[in-house]
Symmetry: C2
Amino acid sequence: MQEIVDFVLELDKLKGVTRKVKPLGLDRYENPAEHSWQIALLATSLLRYAEPGVDLDRVIAMLLVHDVGEIDTGDVMAFVEQGIEERKAAESAAAERIFGLLPGPQGERMLALWREFEAAATPEARFAHAVDRAMPVLLNLANQGQSWRENGISHERVVRRVGPPIRAGCPALWEYLERRLDEARGLGYFGA
Amino acid sequence: MQEIVDFVLELDKLKGVTRKVKPLGLDRYENPAEHSWQIALLATSLLRYAEPGVDLDRVIAMLLVHDVGEIDTGDVMAFVEQGIEERKAAESAAAERIFGLLPGPQGERMLALWREFEAAATPEARFAHAVDRAMPVLLNLANQGQSWRENGISHERVVRRVGPPIRAGCPALWEYLERRLDEARGLGYFGA
């Protein structure tokens, strides 16, 4: 029992990691813990648009653990492409350390889910990626492009970076977002 | 698709609701969104101590939606016993309003999960309640009783309020916590 308690208190640190987007109406950056909660419910909501047969429970389990490595590495914006290999290696080591705190099959299962998400090779992982990539776009569309403007991110860069994974995991969602992103360009929501 | 987007942006408001306990090492109160994420992973970690046959995926789905009504009502500490009937009615109306934003079976399913949690009549709901009640206790035990001291909550009141639901849903967890709460009394972690 003490190992489980130590593990869940280690997870608490994810509440102190900051992402680049702000919750609507709040003057602070969101953290990966509340983000993970929100995308688990977005995945549930979007189920009818997922590939038929997708196992929603496994998608949710994956989304709940996918950012845990950031406890050690911090969050890096999806648009930063330098040093991506080193970052992936550091996140992988972090996931092994943190899930290793939890003995027995549950720790192993969480690490396996974390790796399945990273590999993005199953329909569940692809759907999870689509939802994870879409959420900050939806917040930015509702937030006058707050994190795009703050970080000098262009329309072209957003489309190039999030388009392929969202289209691969949830085509109907990309169809919707592509149109919204076009409108956002006319509204000056981008930073470059 | 627009209805799903409106729903998930409505959910965003839960990030701005404040609970009474602070994340470890942070000088702010936690919100129900990050709390819901954390207890979903605590439930996963505690699975071996749940009643045999408990459906973990339904427990997780329940925990992810159980606080959504607080978007309209705010968080009220578990120890406040006045006005509990009115509060329950307001939270129920809130859950109907918010899950009603999501058309079709997913919205209905979320509302059903919310109600199953509230009724606390299935093994899954009892396990979910145990985990939900235990998490702020674990944070307080690691935080020198921060929210107990700030709110004048005694050892006896904690045991009386959280003991029965935790024992009902996860007896081994209560056995562990009862001992830790006794130690905490000696350490002056309580507020009355």
